[in-house]
C-alpha cells in the first residue's frame, strides 16, 4: 500500500512539473523576406533501435500559413535529396510525437518531425547512418530554404518511454521478494474455493463405484502458467487417489508436460505411502494435434466411463468436446482454466469450474505450501493496486473534469499507456 502511494506521488510531482514546462514562446515577426527557422536542429530520434532521425524547430508567427517540405539525403549535403514529408504550419508539432511527457518535451510551439528512414529509403536501415536534412519553407510565392544540417542516427540503449512499465515491474518484484522472504513465518489465510471441496467427493464416488478417474491437463506446454498450476493440482489429486486406492488416468498432449506429470504422480504415490500402486501407464501420450487429441480422449472417456473427470489446464475449442462427452456418461466433472473464452463452456457443461485465477490459487489452497500461499498474496496485492488505481484515478478524473483541470487526463493516460 505504501508503495502505491509513493508511486502515485512520484508521478504526480512529475506531472505538475511538466505542465509548468509548457510555457509559451513568442517571437516578433521578422521583416525580411527570407524565412528562417528558429533553433532548427537535426537529431537522432530518441529511445528507438536506430531507424529514425528527428528534426525540430520552433514555431514563429511568420511561419503562420506556411508549408514545409522536409528534404533528406543519406549521400552527401549536395545530392541525393528525397522529400521525406510535406506539411502545413500547425501540423507535426512536438505534442504529436508518440512519446510520454517524462521522456520528451511535448511543446506545442515546436515542430518535431520524425524521419523514418525505413519508409523514406524503402529499405531496412541496418547500421548507424549519417543523414543530411534541410527544410523548404513555402509561403505564397516566397520559397526559402534552410541551411543543411547533419546528424547521425543510432540505436539507443534504454526505452525511457517504457519507464512507467519498468517502475511497475520493480514495485511488483520488490513486493514479491518481501512477501516471499516472509513466507514461512506464519500460516496465511486463503478463502474457501468451492470447486476444490468437490475433489474429495468426486474421488470418493469413483472409488465407491470402482470406476477410473480422468485427469485431462489440456493442450498447454510446460511454460504456460495454467499448465504449471495444473501439475500442482494433479499432484494433490493423485495423492488422494493413491490414498483411496482408486485408479487415475492422465492423457497428454505435450510430451514434456507428460514427463513432468510422471514425476509428480510418482511422488504423490510415494507421499501417500503407496509407491507399489503406481503404474507407468497412468500417464499416456495421445497426440500433439489439438483435434486428434480431443477425438481420442473422447473415445477413451466413452469407453472407460470414468466416474469423475478433471479438465484442468489450458484448453481451446476442445473444452466442450471433452466436457460434453463426460457429461453424457454422467461423470462428476471439475474443470479449471484461465482461457477466458473457453470458461463459458466448462461452466455450463461441468459441475464445478475453477474460473481463471482460482486455478492458480488451487495449488496453494490444496497444498497449503507457504511458498505458494505467499505468491498468492502477491497476486492479491496486484489486484488491490488495480482496484485502488481504478477507484482513485476515476475519481480524480471526474473531479478533474468538473474543475476543468486541463492536462490531467493526458498525464494519466500517458502514465498508463503502453509505448
Amino acid at each position: 500500500m505504501k508503495n502505491t502511494l509513493i508511486f502515485l506521488t512520484a508521478f504526480l510531482t512529475f506531472s505538475s512539473y511538466s505542465s509548468f514546462a509548457a510555457s509559451q514562446n513568442k517571437v516578433k515577426p521578422a521583416a525580411i523576406s527570407q524565412i528562417e527557422l528558429k533553433n532548427f536542429e537535426a537529431l537522432d530520434f530518441p529511445y528507438d533501435k536506430g531507424e529514425s532521425g528527428l528534426l525540430v524547430w520552433e514555431h514563429t508567427p511568420e511561419l503562420e500559413g506556411a508549408q514545409f517540405s522536409v528534404l533528406v539525403s543519406t549521400v552527401s549535403d549536395k545530392e541525393g535529396w528525397i522529400e521525406a514529408v510535406k506539411f502545413s504550419a500547425g501540423e507535426n508539432t512536438a505534442d504529436k510525437i508518440n512519446l510520454p511527457f517524462w521522456s520528451f518535451n511535448k511543446n506545442k510551439n515546436k515542430y518535431a518531425v520524425a524521419l523514418e528512414f525505413n519508409n523514406i529509403l524503402s529499405s531496412q536501415v541496418k547500421e548507424e547512418l549519417n543523414y543530411f536534412a534541410k527544410v523548404k519553407i513555402i509561403k505564397g510565392k516566397n520559397i526559402s530554404e534552410t541551411k543543411v544540417l547533419s546528424s547521425k542516427i543510432k540505436g539507443n540503449w534504454f526505452r525511457a518511454d517504457r519507464l512507467n512499465n519498468l517502475i511497475v515491474f520493480l514495485v511488483v518484484t520488490l513486493v514479491f521478494f518481501i512477501v516471499v522472504s516472509h513466507a514461512k513465518k506464519k500460516g496465511l489465510f486463503i478463502r474457501r474455493i468451492a470447486g476444490l471441496d468437490a475433489i474429495d467427493e468426486a474421488i470418493g464416488r469413483a472409488t465407491e463405484m470402482g470406476k477410473p478417474i480422468f485427469y485431462v491437463p489440456g493442450i498447454g506446454v510446460m511454460s504456460q502458467i495454467s499448465t504449471i498450476a495444473s501439475t500442482f493440482v494433479l499432484g494433490e489429486v493423485a495423492k488422494k487417489v493413491a490414498q483411496y486406492d482408486s485408479y487415475i488416468k492422465v492423457p497428454h498432449y505435450d510430451p514434456i508436460v507428460m514427463t513432468v506429470s510422471k514425476e509428480i504422480v510418482k511422488q504423490a504415490y510415494t507421499e501417500a505411502e503407496r509407491p507399489d500402486s503406481y503404474k507407468e501407464d497412468i500417464n499416456v501420450f495421445i497426440s500433439h494435434d489439438q483435434f486428434s487429441y480431443a477425438a481420442n480422449v473422447d473415445g477413451l472417456i466413452s469407453r472407460e466411463k470414468p466416474a469423475a473427470c478433471f479438465y484442468i489446464g489450458y484448453f481451446m475449442a476442445e473444452s466442450l468436446l471433452l466436457a460434453e462427452v463426460g457429461a453424457s456418461i454422467g461423470a462428476i466433472q471439475i474443470a479449471g482454466t484461465d482461457v477466458d473464452h473457453q470458461l463459458p463452456f466448462f461452466f455450463t457443461a461441468c459441475d464445478y469450474t475453477l474460473i481463471g485465477e482460482e486455478l492458480y490459487a488451487a495449488g496453494a489452497y490444496l497444498s497449503k505450501e507457504p511458498m505458494l500461499v505467499s505468491a498468492l498474496k502477491v497476486q492479491d496485492f496486484g489486484k488491490l493496486v488495480f482496484m485502488i488505481s481504478v477507484a482513485v484515478f476515476s475519481l480524480l478524473l471526474i473531479i478533474g473534469a468538473k474543475m476543468e483541470w486541463k492536462g490531467l487526463a493526458g498525464i494519466l493516460t500517458e502514465i498508463l499507456k503502453v509505448y
Binding site: 478463502r191 497426440s287 466413452s302 499507456k417
Partner: protein, 244 residues
C-alpha cells in the same frame, strides 16, 4: 493430381467425416478407425511441418553452410533440444533440465513486461478513460462507464483470496458473479454462430460429395453405415434373446 485421385479423395474425405460424426450416435469400430488414423495423421502432419519448416531450413542448412558462427548458433539449441530426449533414460534424465530451463526462462522473461503492459496498465487505462470527459457524456454513457469500472472491481474482488467473503464483501463478490455470468452467457451465445457455420461447411461439403461427379460418395457411405448399425442392433438383440 488426376481426376481419379480427386474422386478417390472425395470418397476418403466423405468416409472419414461420416465416421467421426457416427460417434454422435454411439462409439463404433468406424469411429475408432478414424480416431486412430487421425492421431497418426495429426502427428504425421506435425512431423512433416517440423521437418520441412524447422529441421531442414533452420538446422540442416546452417550446419552445412560452412560458416562457423552459423553452425555454432544451431549446435547450441540442437544440443538443448537433444537433451530433452534423455528423458527416456532414467539415469541421465536430469540432462533434459538444460532444455527445459532454457524454454522456461525465455518464456517467463518475455511474459512479464508484456503482461504488465497490455493486461494490467492498459486495462486500468481502458477502465478509467471514459471518465476523462465525464460531463460531456450522456447519462447513459455515464452509467456505462461507471458500470464497467464497478463491475471490474467487483469481479476482481471475487478473485480476492485474502479475505473471507462475508458481510459487505459477500455482496460485492456476488455482484461480481453477475458480471461473470453475463460474460459467460454472452460469450457462449456469441460462439454459437461460428460453430454452426462450421457444421454448415462440413454438411455443404458432404452434399457436394454426394453428387454424380463423385459417384454419390456420401450417399453410399451413409447407406453402408446405416446398414452396419441396423445389423449390429439385430445381432445384439438376437444374442440377448438366445441368452434369455
Amino acid at each position: 493430381m488426376s481426376e481419379g485421385m480427386i474422386i478417390f479423395g472425395a470418397w476418403i474425405a466423405a468416409a472419414l467425416t461420416l465416421f467421426l460424426f457416427s460417434f454422435l450416435y454411439k462409439d463404433n469400430p468406424f469411429f475408432k478407425i478414424a480416431e486412430h488414423l487421425f492421431i497418426g495423421a495429426g502427428m504425421g502432419w506435425y512431423f512433416q511441418t517440423i521437418f520441412y519448416k524447422i529441421m531442414i531450413p533452420k538446422i540442416w542448412e546452417p550446419l552445412h553452410s560452412g560458416d562457423p558462427f552459423k553452425i555454432f548458433m544451431v549446435v547450441i539449441p540442437a544440443l538443448l533440444g537433444l537433451s530433452l530426449i534423455t528423458q527416456f533414460i532414467p539415469k541421465i534424465s536430469w540432462i533434459s533440465r538444460y532444455g527445459f530451463t532454457f524454454m522456461m526462462g525465455y518464456s517467463a522473461g518475455m511474459a512479464i513486461p508484456v503482461g504488465l503492459a497490455t493486461d494490467f496498465m492498459n486495462q486500468i487505462l481502458g477502465t478509467i478513460e471514459p471518465f476523462a470527459n465525464f460531463f460531456a457524456l450522456s447519462g447513459w454513457q455515464m452509467f456505462n462507464a461507471l458500470a464497467i469500472a464497478i463491475g471490474t472491481i467487483c469481479v476482481l474482488f471475487y478473485f480476492f483470496f485474502s479475505v473471507e467473503h462475508k458481510g459487505a464483501g459477500k455482496k460485492v463478490s456476488n455482484l461480481g458473479i453477475y458480471f461473470l455470468m453475463i460474460y459467460f452467457g454472452a460469450s457462449f451465445g456469441n460462439t454459437v454462430m461460428a460453430r454452426f457455420s462450421l457444421l454448415y461447411g462440413r454438411f455443404d461439403t458432404l452434399v457436394n460429395y454426394s453428387s454424380a461427379k463423385y459417384f454419390y460418395a456420401t450417399s453410399w457411405i451413409l447407406v453402408g453405415l446405416t446398414l452396419y448399425f441396423v445389423a449390429e442392433k439385430l445381432i445384439t438383440s438376437a444374442k440377448r434373446e438366445t441368452a434369455e
